[in-house]
């Protein structure tokens, strides 16, 4: 089993899934797309990372993986590890296990790689009936998700709630490192105006605009 969360971290979905790791035997593997790391986040590295997390929870590394690794060591220049091989190795482990794959910010995966990633995840789902995928991303990639996963997805539109924004602001203002630069009038203004207007807006941008020294 894999527990990605450290004890000091605060989490929601992965925490809920990791709770089950204690009760049963599911495995939670995660990946975070980041446009700034687009050159490193190729489909092979991304899917390899999921496989790596899966394998690192096992006592023994599967023989097929060790053999491919040794093959690459003696090969001259060519990369033995390919998407197809990773999927085969992933499915060999996943077929008997309950696995949750969490993928963050799919829209930050470069467009030319996105469909490869989605179709690969779709293949994993087809070959391992106990695997589920939780993904986040901006709405413009919805149609690609539907296409890549052959319609095997449910969508939820996420909005910032007024209460959530209020608590977020309260927490951030409480962490202000130069509190004497904040006037009570400005703080009151922030706490009143931002939650009211910020559902579906970029809270952090608003906060930056309002805080005088941020």
């Amino acid at each position: 089993m894999i527990l990605l969360t450290g004890s000091d971290d605060s989490s929601l979905v992965t925490d809920k899934l990791c709770d089950e790791v204690v009760k049963g035997n599911p495995t939670v593997v995660c990946f975070y797309f980041d446009y700034a790391s687009r050159n490193e986040q190729s489909p092979v590295n991304m899917l390899g990372s999921l496989l790596r997390q899966l394998v690192s929870g096992q006592e023994k590394i599967p023989e097929a993986i060790t053999q491919d690794y040794l093959k690459e060591k003696v090969s001259i220049g060519s990369r033995v590890l390919q998407v197809s091989g990773i999927l085969k190795m992933f499915q060999a482990i996943a077929v008997t296990r309950r696995i949750f794959i969490c993928v963050d910010e799919l829209d930050e995966c470069v467009p030319e790689n996105r469909m490869v990633v989605l179709e690969s995840l779709g293949q994993i789902l087809q070959g391992s009936p106990n695997t589920r995928i939780f993904m986040t991303g901006r709405s413009h990639v919805r149609s690609e998700v539907e296409r890549g996963l052959s319609g095997a997805a449910t969508f939820i539109f996420i909005r910032a709630t007024e209460d959530g924004v209020f608590r977020f602001l309260r927490e951030k203002l409480g962490q202000d490192t130069i509190p004497n630069m904040m006037s009570s009038t400005l703080e009151e203004d922030i706490m009143k105006s931002i939650p009211a207007i910020s559902s579906e807006t970029y809270v952090r941008t608003r906060l930056r605009t309002k805080l005088p020294h941020d």
Binding site: D9, S10, I65, T136, A153, I158, F168, V203
Partner: protein
């Protein structure tokens, strides 16, 4: 050519004389990426329990508890939304 020859020599040399493949080397070969770092970074910045409503939605419960034999069941849950609404913090 000389470089290729050297690589060839070194590779076979390693193969012949190195003990069974090291576990951490194989894991790094599978992927050099470390999503754990990003996970901790987001987790450290998240405000506790914001977004907990997601866990109570029918969509989440059905995805989490549903049965793949049910033909209307979907094994993927995709949370989409505008930038900054907290999608990453929800996944965390």
């Amino acid at each position: 050519m000389s470089q290729a020859f050297n690589n060839n020599y070194n590779s076979f040399n390693t193969f012949n004389y190195t003990a069974p493949a090291d576990r951490s080397e194989i894991l790094a070969w599978l992927s050099p990426l470390e999503p754990r770092v990003r996970h901790r970074d987001i987790g450290a910045r998240r405000v506790d329990s914001i977004g907990a409503w997601l866990l109570e939605t029918e969509e989440f419960k059905r995805w989490h508890n549903g049965n793949r034999e049910d033909r209307s069941y979907h094994p993927t849950l995709f949370c989409d939304g505008n930038p900054g609404v907290g999608k990453s913090y929800m996944m965390m």
